[in-house]
């Protein structure tokens, strides 16, 4: 492991790290054994608790997974609609913010800063509870979509804006020089490049959206993956006296991890491929992904941009 912190190890360092490996390995193995023993002592390794999820021969296997997959479809549907809407509105916000006069711009800035500071669960709850008070009634999925979009469109707007800021200034200057209008410069020169540049960050934001669909549990009647998992748990606990919240939630987590890990790898791949290209300005790093997932706050998101400009 080459690192900033140490040189290539010599014989003594290699021996030390070998000892460390054995000790740490033994401790971790011991912990793993402890977990398994603890699971066994509490009857959690019982086939009846894992069978409905992992044993295709189990009589409930098909019904359980049909239910879960229905929920997973709702989750993916929510995430997909949210992504499309948030991209569209986010781009619109960026255009408004850049092209509007100063007197008008602060309205956009206020909207962006305000929505960015709210927990997503509050925006979802806002959509689900306040919209009906004004007589707007929608299917439950759309309340979740509205709440998620309200938050994510401003995040996406900030991602795109930091992408635009990261572009070499000559791009816009050259476009203005040949007589393009502000809107033309944005549409033809800056936005296409900013999208390409920030694609990894946008995919990381998709991971956040997929995760945040699970917050739909505050919306009555929204049956996503997590809600369906809860329903299955309750059914088994009530009807069959099989209690398996641990097994079920581990499965739910595993499915989310697989989906999001895949998306993360995709973002990494695009990032690597993109950084090979000749036109990539220095200063935008893969770590934008970390910032984005953390919810992009302060001027952190523009850090890469301001460095390059």
């Amino acid at each position: 492991m080459s690192s900033v912190l140490y040189d290539a190890p010599g014989p003594r360092a290699r021996r030390n790290s070998m000892i460390g490996t054995v000790v740490a390995g033994a401790v971790l193995l011991g912990l793993a054994v402890l977990v398994v023993v603890q699971l066994g002592n509490n009857g959690q390794l019982d086939g009846a608790k894992w069978g409905p999820i992992y044993n295709p021969g189990n009589p409930y296997f098909v019904a359980t997974w049909l239910r879960l997959l229905t929920g997973l479809l709702v989750t993916l549907e929510t995430a997909a609609i949210t992504l499309v809407l948030a991209l569209a509105i986010g781009t619109l916000l960026v255009i408004l913010r850049i092209t509007s006069s100063r007197a008008f711009r602060w309205i956009v800035v206020t909207i962006v800063e305000g929505l960015r500071g709210l927990p997503v669960i509050v925006t979802i709850f806002f959509a689900a509870r306040v919209l009906p008070e004004f007589g707007v009634s929608m299917p439950p999925l759309w309340y979740v979509v509205v709440g998620l979009t309200a938050y994510n469109c401003v995040i996406i707007a900030e991602i795109i804006r930091s992408g635009i800021n990261a572009l070499p200034r000559g791009q816009a200057e050259a476009a203005y020089a040949v007589g393009m209008s502000r809107l033309q410069v944005l549409r033809l020169i800056l936005l296409p490049q900013a999208f390409r540049l920030m694609l990894p960050a946008l995919i990381s934001q998709l991971v956040v959206i997929v995760k945040d669909t699970s917050l739909g549990f505050v919306v009555f009647g929204y049956s996503d993956f997590v809600r369906e998992a809860n329903t299955v748990i309750q059914f088994f606990g009530g009807q069959l006296k099989i209690n398996f919240p641990l097994q079920m939630f581990l499965t739910v987590a595993l499915v989310f991890i697989l989906i999001n890990y895949g998306l993360g790898k995709l973002a990494e791949y695009i990032n690597r491929r993109g950084s090979r290209g000749p036109k990539r300005p220095a200063g935008t790093t893969a770590d934008t992904a970390v910032l984005v997932e953390a919810g992009v706050h302060g001027t952190a998101a523009t850090g890469g941009g301001t460095g390059a400009a």
Binding site: G114, V207, G298
Partner: protein, 221 residues
């Protein structure tokens, strides 16, 4: 806005409740996350795997699912959290926030350490500084500058995420103030606006402060 004024004490109590959860979770996540980051850059493979596994698992699962797992899954294996002021979900909530946020802290710290140019440490070793000297006088002072902004973002995100713990049934927290208000017959608009404002009172100044700190410590290259 009737609920806002009439129920101000409740909002304020919820505000403090949120701060309390965030204080516990923030300290825990910083400690655990820093440990995980040290694991991830350590020369010992099993520790590196542990760090990587932690980050992969907690960064990719929704906090709500982690919370469900901690609150309903763990009691099945005999891990029962004590209740906090008659609130059974407080400690599971804090624990899930800690584990979840630690993954992001870990990544922020690690990328900070990696952002220090290798030449810096090499030069330090070349002039004869020991490992501790290299770390404390050369690498860490530079790493901290790059770590603080993303770490601040992670903490602000954690404050927002604490609302999920409230939605889950930890009363005496900001988000939970709303359900109490609704029970009293206030409109959702007035009550939720109050909740939203209270969060913004925390997150917007925190974001501004972070921006100031960021400019202060920015490395001029």
């Amino acid at each position: 806005m009737d609920a806002l004024i009439a129920e101000f004490p409740r909002f304020f109590a919820g505000f403090l409740g949120t701060l309390r959860i965030c204080l516990f979770a923030g300290v825990g996540a910083l400690i655990l996350g820093t440990f995980m980051a040290t694991f991830r850059v350590s020369p010992v493979p099993p520790l590196r795997w542990l760090g990587l596994a932690w980050v992969t698992i907690f960064r990719n699962s929704p906090l709500a699912v982690v919370l469900f797992l901690f609150a309903f899954g763990l009691p099945q294996v005999g891990v029962i959290f004590p209740s906090f002021q008659n609130n059974a979900f407080f400690w599971p909530g804090v624990a899930s926030l800690v584990c979840y946020t630690a993954a992001f802290v870990c990544e922020a710290v690690r990328s900070g350490i990696n952002s220090v140019a290798p030449g810096q440490a090499e030069a330090a070793r070349a002039v004869g500084l020991t490992f501790t000297q290299t770390l404390s006088a050369v690498v860490l002072p530079q790493a901290i500058r790059t770590v603080v902004p993303p770490l601040g973002s992670v903490m602000i995100a954690m404050i927002k995420n604490s609302a999920i713990v409230g939605a889950f049934g930890v009363t005496g927290e900001l988000f939970s103030v709303d359900s109490g208000n609704t029970a009293l017959g206030y409109s959702a608009l007035s009550s939720l606006t109050g909740v939203a404002i209270a969060y913004l009172v925390i997150t917007i100044p925190a974001g501004l402060l972070l921006g100031v700190i960021e400019r202060k410590i920015e490395v001029k290259r």
